[in-house]
Structure formats: C-alpha cells, structure tokens
C-alpha cells in the first residue's frame, strides 16, 4: 500500500516536472513576442516612403526620416567589413591550416578574449587611438571599433568551417604536387566559400545593432554623410537618442528604426542559418 503511494507520488512528480519544464520554456518566449509585437505595431506605422528617403527634421518639428542613419549604418558596416574580413579570414585559415603551433594556441586564446571584451571598452580604445590623434569623430573610428567586435566572429567561424572540409580533399591536392598555398587558395577556400560567407554574415549580424562603441566614435550627424572621415549617424545610435527624448514623433521614428533593424538582423540570421545548413549537407 505504502509502496503504491510512493509510486503515485513519483509519477505525479514526474508529470509535474515535465509540465513545469515545458511551461517555463514557453513562458520565456513571452518577452520575445512582446518585443516583436511592440516593434511591429508601433514600428510598421512609422515606416513609410518619407522614413527611408528624408533627413531628420529639426528638434520639435514633425516629419522627417532616417535616410542618413540608414546610409550611415551601411557605411559603418562596410568599413568594419573591409577592416575585419581580410584579416579575419586570413587568421581563420592560419588557425585551421597551421593550427598546431604555439602561436596558433596563443591566437586562439586571443580570439576568445577579444570576443569577451565589452563593446563599450572597444569604444574607449577606438576613441583613444583614432578619434584623438585624428582630431575628430569619424565613421572610420566607429567602423574600426565595430571591426574589432566583428573580427573574433569571423576568425572562429572561418576556422570551424575550414576544419569541416574533409582532409581527403586537401591530401588529394597535395598528392598531385600542388604546393600548400595553392591548395589553400584553389581547393580549400573555394570549397569553404559559402561557409566563409556565413562567417561574414554572422559577423555583420553581430555588429549591426551595436550602439555603445559608437557613442564617442561615429558620434552622429543630422546630415547625409558619405565621407568616412566625418561623423556619421547610424540606426542604433539614432534609436538611443530618439528613444530617450521627450518627443512622440521621435519615439515613432525610433520604433520604425527598431523595426527596420530587427528585420535586418532577422534576415541576416536566417540567411546564415540556411547557408550553414546547405553547407553541412555538402560535407
């Protein structure tokens, strides 16, 4: 009798446990849906033709758009890619092809450490190294800060990608007498191209929402700006400035910008995921 009751209790516990696990799991999605709901409801209504094509209106006046922030974000991401992608891929190749040396061990550790540096600290570095010596805030300094955030992502993903390439491919090439660097350039890299592209996309997804390092580097601007040596606006920076303001029109623009940014991040992650899946199937 007592034995039976114990079993009942245990089974009840089991049921309760699995129900609680499932419940808590789905509960933790509530914030996500709330965020998406607010961004969607408040954001979509703010996004119209003007939103994409006009410049911000002076303080307190209605209307205006965020075209300069869109361009600024694109330029900043571009600068970051130009700075981080070549070095990142090269370092990734180095780690996968010459990964057993002591230098490689140190580099791997350095990449880990870089990945863990808070982005605001990177902002300090970019300010001290670029803004101060060049005597001016610039998109270049913002891009450099973003590049430092992007670099570890690119290195890691490149290394992981290239390691997945079957060694038979590499050995076949080497056995044909092809020198190592040509093997890397003509066999390994082309085979891993989509994986490397995924690495770059992941890197872009990592940095496109970053705000903290831009506060005292890219700085912001109310004008359309293409020159990388000039201060420039960007979507995250604009969201921060407008969100903390008292103006309802600015809040609307900030929701709109949040919507655009969130959709962009979503797309990037989606593309990366699809590419990674296709890549994994090939090997």
């Amino acid at each position: 009798m007592r034995e039976e009751r114990r079993i009942v209790v245990r089974v009840a516990w089991d049921r309760l446990f699995s129900a609680a696990t499932a419940l808590l799991s789905y509960l933790s999605l509530i914030p996500l849906f709330l965020i998406l709901y607010y961004i969607g409801r408040r954001g979509i209504s703010a996004v119209d033709w003007d939103f994409f094509t006009s410049l911000p209106a002076p303080v307190g006046e209605t209307g205006g758009g965020v075209s300069n922030a869109l361009v600024g974000s694109a330029v900043l991401i571009g600068v970051a890619c130009v700075l981080a992608v070549p070095v990142g891929i090269a370092a990734g190749v180095f780690l996968s092809e010459y990964g057993k040396s002591r230098l490689a061990g140190a580099v791997r550790l350095a990449v880990d450490v870089l990945q863990g540096i808070p982005s605001i600290v990177i902002g300090i570095i970019a300010y001290l190294w670029i803004v101060r010596p060049m005597r001016g805030f610039s998109a270049l300094s913002g891009g450099a800060a973003l590049a430092m955030l992007m670099l570890p992502v690119v290195v890691r993903s490149t290394e992981e990608t290239l390691r997945l390439i079957p060694s038979a491919l590499r050995e076949a090439s080497l056995a044909l007498g092809v020198p190592r660097h040509r093997t890397v350039l003509k066999v390994i890299l082309p085979a891993g191209l989509s994986g490397i592209l995924t690495a770059v996309i992941l890197g872009v997804a990592r940095i496109s929402g970053e705000t903290a390092p831009l506060l005292f580097t890219a700085f912001g601007s109310p004008f359309m700006e293409w020159n990388v040596l000039r201060p420039m606006n960007s979507l995250p920076l604009m969201i921060f400035n407008y969100a903390t303001s008292p103006y309802p029109e600015w809040h609307a623009l900030a929701w709109g910008a949040s919507f655009v940014l969130a959709v962009f991040m979503l797309l990037m992650n989606l593309v990366a995921k699809v590419m990674a899946r296709r890549w994994k199937i090939r090997f």
């Binding site: 696990t21 709330l34 990945q115 600290v121 190592r180 705000t211 969130a262």
Partner: protein, 302 residues
C-alpha cells in the same frame, strides 16, 4: 620570422613563403591587437592608479567635481544587476535546456522554440533598452506602487529584468547542447531500473551535464557584466551604491557611456579608463573560465 622554414613541394618557394608569412602575420596581428587594447587601457589608467591607488576600488563616492573617484558604486551595481539577472534567468534557461535537450528534441515545436530563442539573442541591446523603457518601466512602477516602494520604475530591478531576458539564449543554447550529448545508454539504464524521467534528469542528466551548464551560465554572466545600452536606459543612472532591489544605480559600463565623452581633467578621464580596464579584466576572466569549463565538458562528453 616564423614559418618561413616549412617550405615544401616544387612550387616557387617564394610565393609559398610569402603566403605562409601573410597568414602568420594576420594571426600575430590579432595577438598584437589584444596587446594594444590591454596596454592602452593600462597606460591611460595609470594617472588614476597613481593618484587614487586602491581607494579607487573601495571608494563609495563618485564625485568628479570634488575630485573623488570611488568605483565601488559601479562595481556593486554591475555585480548586483548581473547576478540578479542570472538568478532570474536561470530557471528559464535551465528549463529550456532540459525541455529541448531531453523532452522535445525534434519536431516542429522543438525547432520553433530553438529559433525563437536564437532570435532573442539576435535582437540589438538598444532595442531591449527602448522596449524596457516603454513597456517594462510602467509595469515595474505599478508593481512598486502596490508594494509601497518609491515608484521610480527604473532601477536595479528593471535593469536586471531586461538583462535576464537578454541572457537566456546564451545559457540555454549551450545547456541544450550538453544535455543532448548525454549518452543514451546511461539514460536508458536508469529508466530500465524504473526511474521516472524527472529522476533521470535529476540523477543522470544534470550531474553529467553539470560543467556544460556552468559554462553556459558563465557565458551569460560575461554578457551581463559588459552590457551597456539596455542597462543604462533603464537603471536610473544614479552614481550611488545600490540601496535595495528597486533603487536606482549605475554600472561600470553605464558610467563610461554617460561620462566618457565629457570627462575633463586627466584623473577623471583616467578613472573612467580604469573602470574600462576593470571591466576588461573581469570580463576576460569570466570568459576564459567559461571556455575552460566548456573544453573540460567536451572532453568529459567525448
């Protein structure tokens, strides 16, 4: 230079050497970059270190006008919000890990939940802050009114809530992976002995996946310690030692974001850089510790 010796094959040795050297240089470049970051922080925080010494760490007053630069309010603010956030998020991330790693490993629900959690990680922190300011702050305010606390709305608790939401994916995804890796024969053995599934989770899976879960928690902690925008928008930016759950406070990252662009005076600026250095050291330590634990976990699992 490194690596020039390992030339092989009949190809023109020079291009091989150049290629190899390029790769080595880019690898070394990353090392150099890290060194530059560290040395820069060190050099620029030197005036503060010299001027303030250890008082920087235990000073409770941050009053740049009066020349007092005590970082304790920010250190405590950072630790308080981060650990509170960790505490809030733990039940949820653990539940997700167990649910996805054991109960619902495949099928539409599983992949839906998994991508949703991934999505949570992809949302920029400034959007979390914005949303927190307009949605969470009024909620917390009405809670405070009910409890009879000062109805600030912003403060340590709100910041921790936002942080908790942000860090769930970090510990959940790693936790799911390690729980998934627990060998089936161990679980089956326990089941065959008559254990219920909940008992399997508690007695077999959790002990086995312990270090992996810990690594996930450490990663989440690292993320919370360094978070800037989402926190500064909802914490109240008050440069005092946090007085309680609902009191306004500030964090290390927050004070840098607020004051770095305007700090006049070399000690003031340098004290801010020193806070950055502290953040760098703590973040790095947590991060490396986390990676160590992951490595150990993957060795155990193999």
């Amino acid at each position: 230079m490194w690596g020039t010796g390992t030339v092989r094959g009949g190809a023109p040795a020079t291009s091989e050497a150049v290629f190899e050297r390029l790769l080595h240089i880019s690898g070394a470049g990353i090392l150099a970059l890290l060194a530059v970051v560290f040395v820069t922080l060190l050099v620029h925080s030197f005036p503060a270190v010299k001027d303030l010494g250890a008082a920087f760490l235990y000073g409770r007053v941050w009053d740049p006008v009066g020349g007092e630069h005590g970082a304790l309010p920010f250190v405590l603010g950072t630790l308080f919000t981060s650990f509170l956030a960790l505490g809030i998020s733990m039940p949820f991330s653990l539940a997700i890990s167990i649910y996805l790693g054991e109960y619902c490993t495949e099928g539409p629900f599983s992949s839906f939940l998994r991508s949703a959690v991934d999505l949570l990680a992809g949302i920029p922190s400034v959007i979390y802050g914005f949303w927190g300011l307009f949605v969470l702050v009024p909620l917390v305010r009405s809670l405070q009114i009910k409890l009879g606390a000062m109805p600030y709305g912003v403060g340590v608790f709100t910041a921790s809530l936002v942080l908790a939401i942000m860090i769930v994916p970090y510990s959940a995804s790693l936790g799911r992976e390690v729980i998934h890796l627990v060998p089936a024969d161990q679980k089956e053995a326990a089941l065959a002995l008559g254990a219920t599934r909940a008992e399997v989770v508690r007695k077999v899976i959790l002990p086995y996946a312990r270090s992996g879960i810990l690594a996930g928690v450490l990663l989440a902690l690292g993320r919370a310690l360094g978070e800037t925008m989402a926190v500064t928008m909802v914490i109240g930016n008050s440069n005092v030692v946090p007085q309680g759950l609902f009191s306004p406070a500030n964090t290390m990252a927050g004070v840098i974001a607020n004051e770095f662009a305007e700090a006049t005076g070399s000690v003031y600026l340098s004290a801010l850089v020193e806070i950055g250095l502290l953040l760098f050291v703590v973040g790095t330590a947590v991060n490396i510790l986390g990676r160590r634990v992951i490595k150990r976990a993957s060795v155990e699992a193999a």
